[in-house]
């Protein structure tokens, strides 16, 4: 039974119009696009009855009309592949059942009616580029849409390993998509030799998941030979060590559990985790980004006994949006499509969960063509007494949330692989669509159960599914699971599929037996499934059964301690060269062009699609004043407490391409100076590190990674701010037609801090005509990787350094903000001082006049263009009331700073030695910045 719903004549079809707009981005003009909703319902259904329910309860009675059987027009009908999460169908099915309709299954689709003359080639392009993504969707003709799963008959599978040669070991790993190296396969063979038997398929899968780069972070833990010495492991040697040596008393959770945590006040802790979801987003941007944000939110929910998510962040790296379609290698989606899909994915998941998305950025670089980077962050708040978790033998293993299907099988191993043109086909199963409402219900139930202290430990079911979640929780004691108890989406799953499925919106709890009943009751009340599937034991073994038959028995010690770490070799290739002499270009064109360049220009198109006010605690929002940019976000996570959390970040792949070590220094500086610009302080703050690199089997790429980690160590130490959590995404390399595209070394540093007094919060927009403009920090000839050199198409130049006085400067600026001496404050970063001043003017709807010659600068930087566009670190522009000038001078004595002009007027005016070198009407400045990007 098919039902179609469409917009009635005389009313606008805005969703159809949006599709028309996307088609026009392909350079194809069509007259009109109409979008119909399609529903298929199977079962013993009475047509009249069904139609009545639709008309009474579902159909919009004003703008929409429906027809059972369909309107009969020719169109392109698209539906999800069998087994792909279809939340609308699930919702409709429940509603129909409540109405007493004996429905068996529901499927949804969209029908596009495109009016206009199109060649068959154009139509194919529209289908492929706009209407559907073959990774998750297909076109259907007719009504044959239902998927009838074949039942599963149990048969234990063992893998002949004991007598396998090296070649066979490699083949077994490759064919099973296990991503295990020969050394690892040999180690496994040795283990089974000691047991005197072959492994079962599920055991091998469990080892592969646990040992995957994604779960075990082998590159960060392995010894690396570099510059004639062996580094025992860059994670411990640089990242952990920095945190240990900083030894910050405000750190409450570092590098364990699902997120890091710092003190919010005596009662609460703030948690923060940032994840990447790059590979899935490359193939299916909407689902990839949505499940990325969904996954990191579950990390928050799985930290301690469960933190409440209070903010999301999103940082993206894409190839330029104006990349010509013919430049795309096969199997690669156009960056514009990726950008639109990713933004929609984050939007639909975050907004539906009711979590404000408050901070982010977008960087563009051709190296991201095959591997876009999608970072999703989640901030949570949790009473400090709930930070501890423990698993005790005898506790019941309970799975809560969504059902298990075939989704995302091999996600963990997939994300540790290189992408190629075949990835779209072979890895389709690893890409999923999320169901945020399932996760929201789960959150509601979980927080109730937490507050009643009904469970002792929790973790999310992410990469590796149950195999990772249960394996990890039970690592110190042991666990036993009966897989036939797991609620399934549909029949037909083998025991191994159930075990490693990565279906979204599931978590695992460790529940004391005496509390089980009450826990199940709460979940029932909230309409969330909760099912006991086993128990934790004291055997130090992971035992898995299916209908009573033992299918897996692994020693926890081997599973978690057996990974062979091999020595890797790294080499650093220096490529930075100082810039030679050059004549400055006309400043007007340069400034306008930089203001409208994609990394600098306004991201309002994205920001507006996210709910950044939900939960009612916004203090500093992503846009300020007349929609100027913010340096970071401030939220008030506990409404009854007048205290804020500041969230900011730094990222700069262009620096990474030239000088990875100084990129690390620069982005740490940027992340912290953004915090300071919002009114924050170094004390009480923390950092998160997210490394995205190309193929680290290449010694040069690994060399870059080592240098970045060194930078992390040196500058976390310099600023006295610890790392509390992080993640790596390696192997971001795309291979097509024999050509490799690797991403530039990219480090995202996210920063988090506490604002004790919300009245000290600062925004970037100019507030008052006549106020003084102050520049803090020294300007140097540091133009490598800058927007200015990108504009001039120069590849040379030194990337900005961070100097030893940086910490002192930051602390003095904080003193000023704590005394509320600034009306506005903005950090100087991409595009330099010229851009920073213009942004403050745009946000405040005010002009300004600035004298550049008095700005503290090194000799080689004393030139109007260099002062305007250098991206030297540790600098800000502040707006100060004249009466506070004396006090500011006092607090900044000995720190390079200069009073350069005043706020006011209609124009942006720049002088050098009293001579006007550039004047631009603010209208023009605003237009360049706001309309720079064609999304």
């Amino acid at each position: 039974m098919r039902i179609e719903i469409r917009t009635r004549e005389g009313f606008p079809d805005f969703l159809g119009l949006a599709v028309k707009e996307e088609i026009s981005l392909l350079g194809i003009e069509v007259r009109n696009v109409k979008l119909y909703e399609v529903y298929w319902i199977s079962g013993e259904v009475d047509e009249g009855e069904l139609e009545r329910v639709f008309k009474d309860y579902i159909l919009d009675p004003v703008e929409k009309e429906m027809k059972a059987g369909g309107f009969g027009e020719e169109g392109i009908t698209v539906t999800y592949h069998p087994g792909v999460m279809d939340p609308v169908a699930l919702t409709l099915k429940d509603l129909l059942v409540e109405c007493g309709i004996r429905v068996k299954d529901v499927k949804t689709g969209r029908k596009y009616i495109i009016e206009g003359e199109l060649s068959p080639g154009e139509l194919e392009r529209i289908k492929e580029k706009v209407l559907m993504n073959p990774t998750i969707e297909r076109e259907v003709k007719g009504d044959d849409v239902f998927f009838i799963p074949s039942p599963y008959t149990f048969k234990l599978i063992t893998v002949p390993l004991l007598n396998a040669s090296d070649e066979e070991l490699i083949r077994i790993s490759k064919e099973g998509m296990l991503s295990l190296s020969l050394e690892e396969m040999r180690k496994i063979k040795e283990y089974y030799k000691s047991l005197g038997r072959d492994p079962t398929d599920i055991e091998l899968e469990t080892i592969a998941q646990t040992w995957s780069e994604h779960c075990y972070h082998k590159t960060f833990k392995s010894p690396i030979e570099f510059e004639g010495k062996v580094i025992p492991g860059i994670f411990y040697e640089y990242i952990v060590k920095a945190t240990e040596e900083v030894n910050a008393p405000w750190c409450l959770l570092v590098f364990k559990d699902n997120a890091g945590a710092i003190a919010f006040d005596d009662e609460y802790a703030v948690t923060f985790k940032v994840e990447t979801h790059n590979h899935p987003s490359a193939l299916e941007p909407y689902g990839g980004a949505g499940t990325g944000i969904g996954g990191v939110i579950r990390d928050t929910m799985g930290t301690g006994l469960g933190a409440k998510p209070v903010a999301n962040t999103d940082v993206f790296c894409f190839a330029p949006l104006d990349t010509p379609p013919e430049a795309l290698p096969p199997g690669v989606l156009h960056p514009r499509r990726i950008a639109r899909g990713v933004v929609a994915g984050v939007r639909d998941y975050g907004n539906r969960m009711g979590i404000p998305t408050v901070n982010g950025s977008v960087s563009f670089h051709p190296g991201f063509l095959g591997n876009p980077l999608v970072y999703c962050g989640s901030v949570g708040i949790i009473p400090r007494k709930f930070l501890k978790k423990e698993v005790r033998p005898g506790d019941v293993i309970v799975v809560v949330g969504g059902r298990t299907g075939r989704d995302g099988i091999h996600g963990a191993t997939f994300s540790s692989m290189k992408l190629d043109e075949q990835s779209e086909k072979v890895s389709g199963g690893a890409v999923q669509i999320g169901n945020p409402i399932e996760e929201k219900k789960l959150l509601d139930a979980l927080l109730r159960a937490r507050d009643e202290e009904l469970y002792r430990a929790i973790t999310d079911c992410g990469a590796g599914g149950f195999s990772s979640a249960v394996g990890e929780m039970g690592r110190d004691c042991g666990a036993e699971v009966e897989l036939s108890h797991v609620p399934l989406k549909y029949e037909g799953l083998s025991y191994t599929e159930i075990w490693i499925s990565e279906s979204q919106e599931r978590m695992v709890l460790s529940v004391p037996p005496e509390k089980l009943e009450r826990l199940l009751e709460i979940f029932r009340e909230e309409g969330v499934e909760a099912t006991p599937i086993g128990k934790f034991t004291d055997t130090k073994k992971l035992v898995v059964r299916y209908k009573g038959e033992k299918v897996c028995e692994l020693d926890m010690d081997f599973l978690h301690g057996g990974v062979p770490l091999t020595l890797k070799r790294a080499t650093y290739r220096k490529r930075e060269i100082p810039d030679g002499d050059f004549d400055p270009p006309p400043l007007k064109e340069a400034l306008l062009s930089i203001l409208s360049s994609p990394d600098v220009a306004s991201k309002e198109w994205i920001v507006r699609q996210y709910d950044h006010e939900v939960q009612g605690g916004s203090v500093v929002k992503p846009l300020c004043g007349n929609d100027g940019p913010s340096d970071g976000a401030i939220i008030r996570p506990v409404l009854s407490k007048e205290r804020g959390v500041i969230i900011a970040h730094g990222i700069n792949p262009s620096y990474g391409e030239i000088e990875p070590y100084w990129m690390a220094a620069s982005v740490i500086d940027e992340a912290l100076r953004n915090l300071i610009a919002c009114g924050g302080r170094l004390e009480g703050s923390a950092l998160l590190d997210n490394f995205s690199f190309g193929d680290v089997n290449d010694p040069y790429v690994l060399g870059d990674l080592v240098m970045v980690c060194r930078g992390c160590y040196d500058f976390a130490k310099l600023f006295g701010v610890p790392f509390i959590s992080g993640k790596d995404s390696l192997h971001n390399e795309f291979e097509a037609e024999g050509k490799k595209i690797s991403i530039p070394p990219t480090l995202l540093i996210s920063s988090i801090g506490i604002l004790e007094d919300l009245s000290c919060a600062l925004t970037t927009n100019f507030k008052r005509d006549g106020a003084l403009i102050l520049v803090i920090g020294e300007t140097r000839r540091e133009l490598g990787g800058s927007e200015y050199f990108r504009y001039l198409r120069r590849k040379d130049g030194l990337v900005p350094r961070v100097y030893s006085e940086a910490k002192d400067i930051m602390e003095r600026v904080s003193r000023c903000t704590q005394e509320r001496l600034f009306l506005s404050l903005h950090d100087i970063s991409e595009g330099g001082l010229g851009v920073a001043l213009c942004e403050m003017g745009i946000g405040g709807r005010k002009g300004f006049s600035a004298e550049l010659s008095c700005i503290p600068a090194t000799e080689r930087a004393k030139r109007p263009d260099i002062i305007l566009f250098s991206e030297s670190n540790t600098r800000w522009v502040a707006e100060v009331d004249e009466r506070d000038k004396g006090r500011v001078d006092e607090l900044l004595s000995g720190i390079p700073h200069a009073w350069i002009g005043r706020v006011g007027g209609e124009d942006a005016v720049f002088l050098y030695g009293g001579v006007e070198v550039l004047r631009l009407p603010m209208d023009e400045v605003e237009r360049a910045w706001k309309e720079g990007i064609k999304w």
């Binding site: 309860y57 703008e63 939340p87 919702t91 509603l95 009711g354 945020p436 409402i437 309409g527 919300l758």
Partner: protein, 234 residues
Amino acid sequence: MVKVCMVRGPGTNCDMETGFAFKLAGAEVRDVHIFRLRENPSILRDYQILVFPGGFTYGDYLGAGTVFSFEIRKFLYDEVRNFIEKGGLVLGICNGFQILVRSGLIPGWEERAITLGFNRQGRFIDRWVELEVVNEETPFLRGIETLRVPIAHAEGRLSVRDENVRRRLWDGKHVALVYKENPNGSVDDIAGLVDTTGRVLGLMPHPERNIFFHHTERGGEGIKVFENAVRFFS
């Protein structure tokens, strides 16, 4: 103490701050799951104010507020009508407004002739807006002339079946709030409506998101809506 029944369901997500605003205004707030209300609709009789907070109930799959309004119409309609007849106040914010419109409680006519459709941009929008109060008779809006509040929705464009319906909204004093600058294509810039009694208010913008000094330049204005509701019973 004035008692507020705050109904939430799967996907409600503005309950915490809406409850907070009512508490700040001096009310006692109970968080009631729609499943509990369905089991026992008569519990509504213990309350003076009924509020439907914002969110994406049931994901807004099948249309914003569709499934939640189905539950009201099928299981709770008489009890809610009774609650209104007896003098109770009902507030629906954002998704709550969508629920009130879809269930017919706003405008409270026999026929269903208005709807909230997709924004003219075809996507979700978050921005601050200035509202003008055009019906000061509703208890929620007394003494308020303008309000600065954020909107955050994908389906907030008020649409009417025809010209007669549009006129009927104005003539019947259903129009309570209008946007000074239309953000979504809403007919006659309408941002909020009341029912025939004036005691049921639904609006797309979020007054609960402007209750502190730091929310915006004129921070704190939104609390008046909640204070008015509480004052109505004291």
